[in-house]
């Protein structure tokens, strides 16, 4: 029924019949969704269901082919300024994609300096503040290769935060982390929500999803089959596909 309503300008993100093709292949099939400011969304679904593609359309790294994508009341299309859009929608990749030739601090200040033309001193102190916030302030002058996976993840988050985004997209942030580090990421995402930053997080980690999600979005074959609060999703999933998925996850865990 969301399909036929106009997009909601009061939402952080409002999607209507959003579709994406890779050549002939339909990767996203008419996704309609409203996400409120400060909401924590977790995207679940089997591998290849289009989760990564979905969050990549939200910052236009993969432009959508049809439908409406509205962010903070603005319709996003090929006329949208990419630096502005990506300033508003940050992203943390599964393998972090840190710049190995730059120190942690330089990783954080490169984009603000180049894209925002921000002043060096201000950017640097901001970056140090964010690094402190994610708990790796003392690593600022090290190179990524000197850090553990969990520390690199935090650098990636701090780097995204330095652009002062309203929305942050996470693609499997916990995939390479031990349980201790996962707890840390949960804490960080919670603190983002307190600052009304909207987070959309793709994961395979059920415990993590249950912990942080305000709502779980379940995808299969490019279609959003469910979007419901975690209590409801994990206890009484609506679709047969989601039940099957949860069964599998539990058996494999």
């Amino acid at each position: 029924m969301l399909h036929n309503l106009p997009p909601d300008p009061d939402c952080a993100l409002s999607l209507r019949k959003l579709s994406k093709f890779y050549g002939e292949f339909l990767a996203l099939d008419r996704i309609s969704l409203d996400i409120a400011h400060g909401e924590k969304i977790v995207v679940l679904g089997p591998s290849g269901s289009g989760k990564s593609t979905f969050i990549r359309t939200l910052n236009r790294i993969e432009p959508h082919d049809s439908g409406v994508l509205m962010i903070d009341g603005e319709v996003i299309d090929d006329k949208t300024s990419l630096p502005l859009l990506r300033g508003a929608v940050g992203m943390v990749f599964q393998n972090y994609n840190l710049f190995p030739h730059l120190t942690v601090l330089e990783n954080c200040i490169l984009a603000p300096r180049l894209v925002r033309k921000a002043h060096r001193d201000a950017t640097e102190s901001l970056a140090r503040a964010y690094l402190d916030q994610v708990g790796i302030g003392e690593q600022a002058d090290k190179y990524p290769i000197q850090l553990s996976g969990g520390q690199q993840q935090r650098v990636a988050i701090a780097r995204a935060l330095c652009m002062a985004p309203d929305i942050i997209l996470f693609d499997e942030p916990t995939a390479a982390l031990d349980p201790e580090a996962i707890k840390g990421v949960i804490g960080i995402i919670d603190s983002l929500a307190e600052r009304r930053i909207t987070t959309i997080c793709v994961t395979h980690e059920m415990g993590f999803a249950r912990h942080i999600a305000d709502r779980v979005v379940f995808m299969d074959k490019g279609v959003v089959l469910e979007a419901s609060p975690p209590e409801q999703f994990f206890t009484a999933p609506q679709s047969a596909r989601a039940r099957q998925f949860l069964d599998q996850m539990i058996h494999h865990a």
Partner: protein, 526 residues
């Protein structure tokens, strides 16, 4: 009225006298200078007499200066490889070839020739070999001659006669310069060599009495040295008249005496002293000479300039070739294939000798050996550099591009600050290897007369005949340069601290590339 007629007459007289004087000067004198192409490796005719390359000297050089004086024009010399002389004359790079070249019918098909000095061919062999009286006595023996001269064709002709008489042919060995021809007999690789008498007179002092003339054949076409010029109107007659004038003035006889090429010289043959095998003094004076230093600097400069240009050319080509297929692909692939496929020496000779025949603009003075070499080596090297760059660019994780995009950086910002600094680390070691190889390739440019290290060496050897000493000095320079760059390569690799956990450990080291400005000191002090 009468005044006007008088004026007109005076004017006509002036004009006609001017035109008579202009006729005296041949048309090959352009821009009021006589420019002469010469290969200064043929003492005593034309050679570098001293440590400095500009000090070319000899009978031919002095003769050119006499001609210049006669026509009241300054003389400029363009020095080059023997094989480049006639292409350069044809290309209009010089007015005359004055380079101890024999007067021969084959050359006169294409150019005009004016004889200026009598000579005789000589067969030379080690001193213990007895004289002979015919070519038949040389059947089955080896004979060294200079390539690019017509000796080879003449010997082939004699060989046909020998074979028809059931005798084994003379084994011909060709070498690119006269000094190398002589050296083959000295080191025992050839039994004899064929040259002109004038050279032997001059070489006597250097040969240490080890060689002597065993046969002076009378070969038509080897009995006169000639000046060569492009065929054009009265030029030949005017040049012949000028030579006659110099003869009448006794100038030519004086030069013969000075350079020991006249008939008197024959008497002096064979009086010599022994020479040391390796003259340490020569070696060190070559090593520390201005000429070698300049040659080494030239080698370094041309290599650096060529590689810099090659890198500039290769980066956009590598980016295009790594991008999805486009219309450019076949052309860029062909570019890389052609310039990697063709021998560098051939490319140099093509640019220097063939290009001016299609585009006369390349005959002009600004198109120097340096420029030709630079263009050639830049293009040639860029073809190799493209492959290095492509490999380096594809070694970068595509996630780096996505990472930059997600931060709102533009493609050019991502390339400049993210991709290139990382690709640089991958590309730098093979690039320095390429550079070292290029540094040595520059020696090929000696064939188009670029005055780099090998050219200087060859000129000095031709003058002095001290092969080992000058080759050793050149070797020292090449090795010093190569080792310096190998050392640099090592140093640079250790500077990429971010690339490995081991070297990045502990204190943060210095970095090659920093996208941010301002001082880094405060950070590193921490």
């Amino acid at each position: 009225m009468r005044l006007l007629t008088c004026l007109l007459l005076c004017l006509a007289a002036l004009l006609s006298s001017a035109s008579v004087r202009a006729q005296e000067r041949p048309s090959f004198i352009e821009n009021n200078t006589l420019s002469v192409c010469t290969n200064p490796t043929l003492p005593p005719m034309t050679f570098v007499n001293g440590a400095d390359l500009s000090a070319i000297d000899g009978f031919d050089i002095a003769l050119a200066r006499e001609l210049g004086a006669l026509w009241h024009v300054p003389v400029t010399f363009k020095t080059m490889d023997f094989t480049g002389l006639f292409p350069s004359l044809a290309a209009g790079r010089c007015s005359l070839v004055i380079s101890g070249v024999l007067k021969q019918a084959a050359r006169e098909h294409l150019f005009d020739a004016v004889a200026y000095l009598d000579t005789s061919p000589v067969i030379v062999a080690p001193s213990q070999i007895a004289p002979v009286t015919s070519f038949e006595a040389l059947a089955g023996q080896s004979l060294a001659v200079e390539s690019g001269t017509s000796y080879a064709a003449r010997i082939e002709e004699i060989n046909r006669t020998l074979i028809s008489r059931g005798k084994p042919p003379i084994a011909l060995q060709q070498y690119p310069s006269e000094d190398q021809v002589v050296q083959q007999v000295l080191v025992g690789r050839s039994q004899n060599f064929l040259s002109q008498d004038v050279e032997l007179f001059y070489r006597q002092a250097q040969l240490g009495g080890k060689l002597h003339v065993i046969f002076s054949p009378s070969l038509p076409g080897y009995s006169e040295f000639a000046l060569y010029l492009r065929r054009s109107g009265q030029d030949k007659a005017l040049l012949a008249a000028a030579i006659d004038t110099l003869k009448r003035q006794g100038k030519i006889t004086a030069l013969e005496k000075k350079w020991n090429v006249g008939k008197a010289a024959r008497a002096a043959l064979g009086v010599t002293s022994e020479r040391p095998r390796f003259n340490t003094a020569t070696f060190f004076s070559a090593l520390f000479s201005m000429a070698f230093l300049k040659g080494a600097v030239m080698t370094l400069v041309i290599a650096l300039a060529s590689h810099a240009a090659a890198i500039v050319i290769s980066i956009p080509i590598a980016l295009k070739l790594n991008a999805p297929r486009s219309l450019w692909h076949p052309f860029l692939r062909a570019y890389v294939a052609v310039f990697r496929g063709a021998p560098t020496l051939l490319q140099l000779l093509f640019i220097w000798n063939a290009l001016p025949q299609f585009f006369p603009i390349f005959r002009e003075g600004w198109f120097s050996p340096f420029l030709a070499t630079w263009i050639c080596l830049s293009i040639n090297e860029s073809a190799y550099q493209v492959e290095i760059n492509r490999a380096a660019l594809s070694a970068i994780d595509p996630g780096q591009l996505a990472g930059g995009q997600a931060l709102g950086m533009s493609p050019s910002q991502i390339y400049r600050h993210v991709i290139f600094p990382q690709a640089l680390r991958v590309a730098l070691p093979p690039t320095i290897n390429e550079f070292i190889s290029l540094l040595k390739t520059t020696s090929l440019a000696s064939v188009i007369s670029l005055q780099e290290l090998l050219f200087i060496t060859q000129v000095q050897v031709a003058r002095s005949f001290e092969f080992t000493e000058y080759y050793a000095a050149a070797l020292v320079y090449y090795l010093a340069m190569v080792f310096a760059f190998l050392h640099l390569q090592k140093r640079i690799e250790t500077r990429f601290v971010w690339a490995s956990r081991a070297s990045a450990g502990g204190k943060t080291g210095p970095r090659i590339e920093s996208p941010t400005d301002g001082t880094e000191a405060s950070r590193h002090a921490a």
